[in-house]
């Protein structure tokens, strides 16, 4: 029996079971059947146009674009030949709304409703691609190759994001058509729970939330923890790292991938109940996962007697309430239990004693999304990707001072250089790369001199940072590293639960010192004090938040000590960011007198007649930077000032 036949049988068995059991399922299926486009008796559509319906694109007007497209198609009587659908996130998040046309492999960005009409005329009716909308800067600009050849996409290997841009997130049919739930069928009908765990162990999958703990081993510990009362599996979707949105996109675009992973995991571990903990700042993700769970129940992939195998498992969704610390395992569990999210000491670990004292396995969204492909394609395949100790792929949120910002999935071991230049298209406006921040507030800044290090758990840790959940923030010469350190520490101070002394008191003191430094009140000895304090906080904190809080500070001191010294001794901010240390001045030679800054200034600090160089009154200036933002002639310069 070939793989294909086995798979087909499994899926047939799956859907057959659901059809027999639940009458309403029939009704739903017919509706989505039509939506999925396989019209009985009619010729299939020649083209599929998918409009990205992720949060960013929706907020940028994707609904209007879709409506305009459909209207234009109707007017052109092309509706039957072209299928328009809600797409999942294409990860070109800063240039939405994004529209993909398949099978042409063309991606359009920044599409307006008017553009949609042009696209219909030119491309869908006339076969001519609209070059103007097809914008991806970087190496592949002149010729417009198909998507797969464009630098941004070429280097990527999609495992967790395998369905990116290809399916309607609300359609379980589409998911199933792309090998969805086949892994689950295999896991339940062909593998024993022990075999499931050994497969995941062999794959080398490590926690994608940042901890990097071997997933299979964690499952095994949980499985081996005795509990007559049942066990839990939890999906940690409390993605709180500022600058990270991988989990949001995964939940919004492919919720079933997470569900499938959780059911497989539950089977391996022996859990009968699961939770997805979503932060409340992600309303769309919450909505989509809820809907997906409902649909999965209807189809028999969740609930009593999954796929008719006698295995029962169901999932609840719990929403966060605005606490970053609830991404920490023990705090997350406390929150699910209806308490304040204050971490507790470990041991005992959640795998032994978790929710309500029972063995609980907590994994990140991306980790769960990787499980189904591993079961379907085999641990050997997964282990062939990546490095010796960091197998598989990782989803990163590439943001900041980068030409192509968005979500990327790359094999472990790829260098930062490749990510930034080949995929990301480099730093915009010809600025110089300064650092890459990985791992969010728990991570560190890696200087530009080190971007040839491969992305891998151990390598990043050796450099003083961590893999983290996948935030990759690119910083250029206009970023002040002391300000970055202060920013992260201030964030952690707000989010600290306050239970243990080193974090509650220590992080606050770090923020105080860094604020002083950025305001020009740095003192000799501050660097040593920050280092000593940071080491103590690292070693003595109760939970991961505190233990990793000093990382941004310690890495910036390690790699950018000269910037600290400039602030402290010279009272100067080399990157010209720290307001107390900069002065906004009009450069008379460049000022054309266009008056844009005069209008933009909220306090009327700039004056001057039209067509004459303007004058900036320092006594009124509040350093808000509005003038700098609007000046087209580089005529506002932020200079460093020297204090005697």
């Amino acid at each position: 029996m070939t793989d294909k036949t086995r798979r087909k049988r499994a899926v047939r068995k799956a859907t057959k079971g659901a059809r027999v059991k639940k009458a309403p399922a029939k009704k739903v299926r017919r509706g989505t059947h039509r939506k999925a486009g396989a019209r009985a008796g009619k010729a299939p559509a020649r083209r599929t146009v998918s409009v990205c319906f992720g949060t960013c694109c929706v907020q940028n007007g994707a609904r209007d674009v879709k409506a305009a497209l459909e209207e234009a198609l109707r007017a052109r009587k092309l509706k039957s030949g072209v299928r328009v659908m809600n797409g999942s996130c294409s990860a070109l998040c800063d240039r939405g709304p994004v529209v993909r046309v398949e099978p042409d492999g063309v991606v359009y960005t920044r599409v307006t409703p008017a553009d949609a009409v042009e696209m219909t005329e030119s491309h869908l009716a006339g076969g001519k691609v609209v070059k103007r909308l097809q914008a991806l800067e970087g190496p592949a600009l002149e010729s417009m190759p198909p998507v797969a050849d464009v630098g941004f996409f070429r280097e990527q290997v999609l495992v967790a994001m395998r369905n990116r841009g290809r399916i309607d997130p609300d359609s379980i049919e589409a998911y199933i058509a792309n090998d969805g739930y086949a892994a689950l069928a295999r896991a339940l009908t062909e593998l024993t729970p022990e075999k499931i765990i050994s497969e995941v162990k062999a794959s080398g999958l490590r926690g994608r939330g940042g901890g990097g703990f071997p997933t299979g081993l964690k499952w095994e510990i949980c499985r081996n923890s005795p509990s007559p009362d049942g066990k839990y599996v939890v999906c940690n979707a409390d993605e709180g790292d500022p600058g990270a949105f991988m989990d949001r996109s995964l939940l919004e675009s492919d919720p079933h991938s997470v569900i499938e992973g959780m059911v497989i995991g539950a089977r391996g571990i022996g859990a009968d109940e699961g939770y997805v903990y979503v932060r409340e700042e992600y309303p769309l993700a919450c909505e989509r996962i809820l809907r997906a769970i409902e649909t999965a129940r209807e189809y028999g992939f969740l609930g009593e007697d999954v796929l008719g195998t006698g295995f029962s498992f169901d999932i609840n969704v719990v929403r966060g309430a605005g606490a970053f610390v609830c991404g920490e395992e023990t705090a997350l569990m406390a929150s699910i239990e209806g308490k304040e999210g204050r971490p507790r000491p470990r041991p005992p670990f959640p795998a032994e004693c978790g929710l309500w004292g029972k063995p609980t396995n907590i994994n990140n969204v991306e980790t769960w999304a990787n499980v189904a492909p591993i079961i379907l394609r085999g641990s050997g395949w997964y282990a062939s990707l990546g490095t010796a100790h960091s197998k598989g792929t990782k989803v990163f949120a590439l943001v900041g001072k980068i030409v192509n910002a968005g979500l990327i999935e790359v094999p472990m071991g790829i260098t930062l250089r490749k990510i930034i230049y080949d995929i990301g298209g480099g730093v915009p406006r010809g600025k110089e790369l300064k650092a890459v921040q990985t791992g969010g507030p728990s991570g560190g800044c890696i200087p530009a001199s080190m971007i040839d290090i491969p992305v891998d758990y151990e390598e990043l840790a050796r450099a003083g940072s961590i893999m983290g959940s996948g935030g990759l923030i690119v910083m250029d010469e206009d970023t002040c590293m002391v300000d970055v350190a202060r920013y992260f520490v201030a964030f952690l101070e707000e989010e600290s639960c306050g239970k243990c002394t080193p974090c509650r008191e220590g992080v606050r003191r770090m923020r105080e010192i860094l604020t002083r430094i950025t305001e020009g009140d740095g003192e000799p000895g501050d660097i040593d004090l920050l280092t000593e304090l940071g080491m103590a906080i690292k070693e003595a904190s109760l939970c991961g938040l505190g233990a990793t809080a000093p990382n941004p500070v310690l890495t910036t001191i390690r790699y950018f000590e000269d910037e600290y010294r400039a602030h402290i001794y010279d009272k100067r901010c080399p990157a010209r960011v720290c307001k107390a240390l900069i002065v906004y001045r009009v450069v008379p030679d460049k000022c054309t007198g266009c008056q844009r800054c005069v209008r933009a200034c909220p306090v009327g600090a700039i004056s001057g007649p039209r067509s004459q160089p303007h004058n900036l009154d320092q006594t009124k200036c509040i350093k808000c930077g509005a003038c700098y933002e609007v000046c087209k002639f580089d005529a506002i310069a932020g200079d460093a000032i020297y204090i005697e």
């Binding site: 409902e294 609840n316 000491p345 004292g357 600290s496 306050g498 002394t501 080193p502």
Partner: protein, 248 residues
């Protein structure tokens, strides 16, 4: 249309009839059967302990002193002050852990007084002293650790959030009149809404267990005078739960 959050059948917590009896989610040594002996090493000295004991308990039994601040025999430990940190080597890894919440394990090697630990404890004390420079027990700790000049600007708090009063009120007395509100540096021990508690029974357990109580009454309680027909009466207002009571 937005889907409703229809919960799956949720088992795992029983209906709570009394405020104190909540299912615990942390370590509870009272439930574990103390039937197994555990052999570990503390500072090179071989120590026998019972399974379920914490490293702190085992150390104290063996006569080894470890400083603590938020620990009390009658309360479930939380490991929040971090003064009792020790270095634990088990399974090939060495970690710094709070001894009051770390259960003993066979073959564990513990060091309670290395230079590194001294450094860490000293920083904890420095941070506490910067927060509460006028509390006697903190002043004593500062003296013990040789902290003379504090590198941080000083506050003048009268509470360092050990949380023992809250735990005592809930676990020992069973009333739960006070709690920790807010989070992070803004945490404070207050009765709800910072108004007079409706359920405080005035037992004074919180004041008795508070490690910061070693200063005069005038500082702990705010005293108000009340002019009545019979003369002047002193009315005390409990600093913790804000209730009034009379007395000397």
């Amino acid at each position: 249309m937005k889907p409703e959050n229809k919960p799956a059948k949720r088992r795992g917590e029983k209906t709570e009839n009394r405020p104190v009896k909540e299912p615990k989610s942390g370590p509870d040594r009272k439930i574990v059967k103390k039937s197994e002996m555990v052999r570990l090493t503390i500072n090179g000295k071989k120590v026998n302990a019972l399974k379920g004991d914490t490293v702190l308990e085992a150390a104290r039994e063996a006569g080894i002193e470890i400083p603590t601040l938020c620990h009390h025999e009658a309360l479930i430990p939380t490991g929040s002050c971090r003064l009792c940190v020790v270095e634990v080597t088990a399974g090939g890894r060495t970690r710094t852990m709070a001894s009051c919440v770390t259960p003993v394990a066979d073959g564990m090697r513990v060091a309670t007084d290395t230079p590194r630990l001294k450094r860490i404890r000293r920083m904890v004390v420095i941070l506490l002293e910067a927060r509460c420079p006028n509390i006697a027990i903190i002043k004593k700790l500062a003296r013990d650790f040789g902290v003379r000049k504090n590198p941080f600007p000083k506050d003048d708090e009268d509470c360092f959030l050990c949380g023992m009063c809250v735990r005592a009120c809930l676990e020992i007395v069973g009333v739960g009149a006070i709690g920790i509100a807010n989070r992070g540096p803004e945490s404070e021990v207050v009765p709800p809404f910072s108004v007079e508690s409706g359920v405080c029974i005035g037992c004074g357990t919180c004041a008795a267990i508070c490690p910061a109580r070693t200063f005069t009454l005038e500082k702990v309680f705010r005293r108000r005078s009340m002019h009545t027909a019979g003369g002047v009466e002193s009315v005390f207002r409990c600093k913790v739960c804000e209730s009034h009571y009379t007395g000397t």
